[in-house]
Amino acid sequence: MTQAEIKLCSLLLQEHFGEIVEKIGVHLIRTGSQPLRVIAHDTGTSLDQVKKALCVLIQHNLVIHRVHKRGVVEYEAQCSRVLRMLRYPRYIYTAKTLYSDTGELLVEELLLNGKMTMSAVVKKVADRLTETMEDGKNMDYAEVSNTFVRLADTHFVQRCPVVPATENSDPGPPPPAPTLVISEKDMYLVPKLSLIGKGKRRRSSDEDATGEPKAKRPKHTSDNKEPIPDDGIYWQANLDRFHQHFRDQAIVSAVANRMDQTSSEIVRTMLRMSEITTSSSAPFTQPLSSNEIFRSLPVGYNISKQVLDQYLTLLADDPAKTLLSDLDPRHEDLHKALGCLSTASLESVVQERFGSRCARIFRLVLQKKHLEQKQVEDFAMIPAKEAKDMLYKMLSENFISLQEIPKTPDHAPSRTFYLYTVNIPSAARMLLHRCYKSVANLIERRQFETKENKRLLEKSQRVEAIIASMQATGAEEAQLQEIEEMITAPERQQLETLKRNVNKLDACEIQVDETIFLLESYIESTLKRQ
């Protein structure tokens, strides 16, 4: 794991789970798989805290455990999974667009809790939805279950590996840790539950002022005592499927930008038809004949078969994208599509960082694969000195690399060709590394800004709480005015600036994450290809 990745993981863990979990998590990411005692010793934390941290990390699928020889249990952290935490809002938003509020809340609960049983998550979501509904209305469990089943059918949620049922006649002592298994066909099987009920509204007496310690709240032991019908069957969000969705979205929007709406619809149809049949890491979609595509087009688009064929030929002949294969049945070359998208990201980065002329040189070298210094100047029509300068700038930042072609066996520099070329996977990796660094910087800056203004934030929170409580007890307008004036005008301005900055930094993180996704998908697909 690179330093930038480790730093980013550390910041994400700290924000979401606190310092102790962060310390353990980062230690595991750095050192690989380790047993419990070694972790406690190396990090200098007490055994109890390490145990707690590991429980939390395992619950959230960030750490896995494995039994090694001699019965030692080792824990291994999954760095890439930690980095996914940055993308949680995007997953939740996608679920909202596909399955509306119910789906959104289901995915949110699953992501927040790592894994949950179906009954637990359905109940929680029904309660939450009931809160937002008008008085007197309740959310039915059946509706929520239906959405859950739909999510499972489209593979957006999947079952976690289960403890294998051991027979009672097992002779030896039970293993120190269960080895969890799951078979492919069981992964999306929804258990037959008859969840009857409606969501409960929280009693208004429970919503005391948040300051009051709520010890007198009756413990929910009654829920624990009832036997849960789907005990032991846990569900988690299937991040790969979300990634597949994002990738399809990116391809469709790229086609829409390059050509027109209709061609993007065709591409979307093709991708949708192979959604469940192709695994997420396959380089090609399933071959589909043009008849099948014609039948599956959405109802609104009544284009004739010939027009469809013309579009398909157009898409296939596109020199830059070469998405489709030439013959019928056609399939999409997903690897190439990802490559094109990553290249586009690289090009735009070069343009924004170095200027449009640099971008021209970059695109030139991309197109011609290998060019000499002189040729670059000629083709790009840029004066020699500037071209030289730009090439070296890009070379120093590793967007462009040099390829040596010696004329003589002794590689004498005066008798060697030096060609400029763009090595796309390597440039993509470099850019990805930079993205990780940027996100880490953004998070740090946001934390710094919040910390600087902590006193002011707390003050404004207190004032808001006071106003809220006064409004609840029916205060006059004048009194409220007085309380509001406790925050002076310059302080208000400061708060405004802080809010604006924090929003901007957050938005930056989200958008850098989109580039990260693209580059990671591309690199993953190059690895799978080999």
Binding site: P176, P178, L180, P213, E352, Y418, A507
Partner: protein, 222 residues
């Protein structure tokens, strides 16, 4: 060898033309220090994407951050005791739900060790932690009055003992509580109560009790 021709004089081993500099031209300066930490950028960055979708995702992100802090998975670092007990701190404690992991899925070594004797006491420690601190201080004051009657010397000793005992228990309670809760249901509270003469609910509070009793102790011993 031909290569030594330019001894003492700058001579390139390769054709300088190939790299792009003409002979005799001034080469750029040698860089003697690392590049600046925040270099000036020539071009302004591209403005961020804006739109309904982006705004919604932004709001989601900020809400998620807040929610995570309130979940039971957010493990608080045990704070060091502050010198002055802040009145507001008592009322700002956030109530967190318990979380008990499914022990069947986890390695056995992760389960907290069951300490039979201290178990139910730690549970009670947790219970009384969450109880309103007002009743606690009331109890403490009552207890102190009682002890005052028994005599000054004895009182400070006993208070010391109780304070240390309860602190120890509450520390362990803090660590293992959430994990132990499932195990404690079997123990009968009454059974444990018979073990000693003291009524346990009086004294189980680490933080508040420590500060309060300190003050009282100072006043008592002259």
């Amino acid at each position: 060898m031909a290569g030594n021709k330019g001894r003492g004089r700058a001579a390139y081993t390769f054709n300088i033309e190939a790299v792009g500099f003409s002979r005799g031209e001034k080469l750029p300066d040698v860089v003697l220090k690392p590049p600046p930490l925040f270099p000036d950028t020539d071009y302004k960055p591209v403005p961020l994407k804006t739109g309904e979708g982006e705004d919604y995702v932004l709001a989601l992100k900020q809400e998620l951050r807040e929610t995570m802090k309130r979940m039971p998975y957010f493990v608080e670092t045990p704070e060091e005791k502050q010198d002055i007990e802040r009145y507001s701190k008592r009322y700002m404690k956030v109530y967190k739900e318990e979380w008990i992991p499914d022990w069947r899925r986890l390695p056995r070594e992760l389960m907290p060790r069951k300490k039979c004797k201290k178990g139910p006491k730690s549970k009670k420690a947790k219970n009384t932690d969450k109880d309103t601190s007002l009743t606690n201080t009331a109890d403490v004051l009552k207890k102190i009055e009682e002890l005052e009657k028994r005599g000054d010397g004895e009182k400070s000793d006993e208070e010391n003992e109780e304070k240390e005992g309860s602190k120890e228990k509450s520390k362990e309670g803090d660590d293992e509580d959430e994990d132990d809760a499932a195990d404690q249901e079997e123990y009968d509270e009454e059974e444990q109560e018979e073990e000693n003469d003291y009524i346990n609910s009086y004294f189980e509070d680490g933080d508040d009790f420590g500060a309060d009793s300190d003050d009282n102790m100072d006043e008592a011993t002259y």
